[in-house]
């Protein structure tokens, strides 16, 4: 079974995308399954490192938190652009944040969250020291951003990935 | 009534997106440094993709959607390879 379907979640996702792009029918389901199985086997040939999820519920919670944050920061950045940065009072800055995450999968998730949220940009990450260099659009207090990243996002990511 | 609302919203979205593409194009042409130009090009690709989706709604043809997907993929590959070029000065190592 695992030899035939080495990455079941990837295969399922590929079948879902195939059915989204074409209309749903029995023929497309079979064709999509064949393509997904072959693609998953090709993916297994690359031998990627397996990612283990410990608590998926924490990820669902994170998803809703990030969704709300994206809406909030969209409004904030749009207002800042409209008012020309509080009429010249806004200033941006770099923040260095030491991260506890080391595994590449949760790190890339964190990168997606930080970049998808307007107002923060992931600039650089150093693998050896684990320090993330973040650029913040509207800097008020450096400590605020450290607690935001570490307590709001990183905590849940540490919880959901072993 | 709803035809009027939709015509207005679609025209507004098309004009706004076209204007957005022009502004991104301005950054692409005049951006003082290379990274500004690449950022302008990335934004240009995204707005062009969204403009295609809106035009697809207006015309009612599914082919605009496919074109939008191709634009998205091309924009991603182009931006990544240009950014790679900016880091190293060469694309293939």
């Amino acid at each position: 079974m695992t030899r035939l379907f080495p990455h079941p979640l990837l295969s399922l996702a590929l079948v879902a995308v195939w059915l989204l792009l074409n209309s749903f029918s029995l023929g497309h389901l079979i064709l999509g399954t064949v393509v997904a199985t072959l693609a998953a086997r090709a993916f297994a040939a690359v031998e990627p490192e397996r990612v283990k999820l410990r608590r998926p519920m924490a990820l669902v919670k994170l998803f809703f938190i990030v969704g709300a944050d994206i809406i909030r920061s969209n409004i904030a950045v749009a207002v800042l652009i409209l008012t020309r940065g509080r009429h010249g009072l806004r200033h941006s800055a770099f923040v260095e944040i030491p991260l506890r995450l080391r595994h590449p999968a949760p790190l890339s998730l964190l990168a997606m969250i930080v970049t998808a949220t307007p107002g923060t940009a992931w600039v650089d990450y150093d693998e050896e020291t684990g320090i993330l260099l973040l650029h913040v659009f509207d800097m008020v207090d450096t400590a605020d951003w450290k607690t935001l990243i570490r307590d709001r996002y990183e905590e849940l990511l540490l919880e959901s990935f072993p | 009534m709803s035809a009027m609302i939709m015509t207005f919203a679609l025209s507004y979205a098309q004009i706004a997106l076209a204007l957005a593409a022009c502004l991104a194009g301005w950054r692409l042409l005049y951006g003082p440094r290379a990274q500004d130009r690449v950022l302008g090009m990335d934004t240009f690709y995204v707005t062009a993709m969204l403009l295609f989706v809106v035009t697809g709604i207006r015309v009612g043809s599914p082919f605009f959607f496919e074109a939008a997907m191709v634009i998205g993929v091309l924009g991603f590959v182009a931006t990544v390879s240009l950014a790679k070029f900016l880091i190293r000065g060469e694309v293939i190592e």
């Binding site: - | 035809a3 950022l39 934004t43 995204v46 809106v54």
Partner: protein
């Protein structure tokens, strides 16, 4: 445009609102791209277009096409997921590229390198051309 005549108002109004929201946010993002002064500030501007700008337009398209076809048409989701995955990659790459070039040129106001082998230590004595930077294998 035959579908416009039969469209009920409770579909038309949310679709129109989502369309206008998405287009406005994308436009504001590009206004920021032109207006802002430094490159790292401009790096934030396009995320407006790729987060809720794109989401608004794709949601509007999804609602409308699902109504006119009479079944759930969700293929706009594919574009949404694709944008969500690729935007961080391109912006991270661009940010790193800009940082790398600024460090080599010794631009003031840029945080120094966390000690790494592929970035020259003192910014002054490296050659200004990034193609000649050390660390190429």
């Amino acid at each position: 445009m035959s579908w416009m005549e039969t469209l009920p108002a409770w579909v038309a109004i949310p679709v129109a609102l989502f369309l206008m929201l998405g287009a406005t946010l994308t436009l504001l993002g590009t206004v920021g791209l032109v207006q802002l002064k430094s490159f790292y500030d401009r790096l934030h501007a396009p995320t407006l277009g790729t987060s809720w700008g794109a989401a608004g337009i794709l949601l509007a398209s999804m609602l409308l096409v699902s109504w006119t076809e009479g079944r759930a048409v969700l293929h706009e989701l594919v574009i949404g997921i694709f944008l969500m995955i690729t935007t961080p990659v391109t912006l991270m790459f661009l940010g790193r590229a800009a940082l790398h070039r600024d460090r080599i040129e010794g631009t003031p106001g840029i945080p120094g390198a966390v000690e790494r082998s592929d970035i020259p230590a003192p910014p002054g004595d490296a050659l200004a051309d990034p193609a000649d930077a050390p660390g190429e294998s």
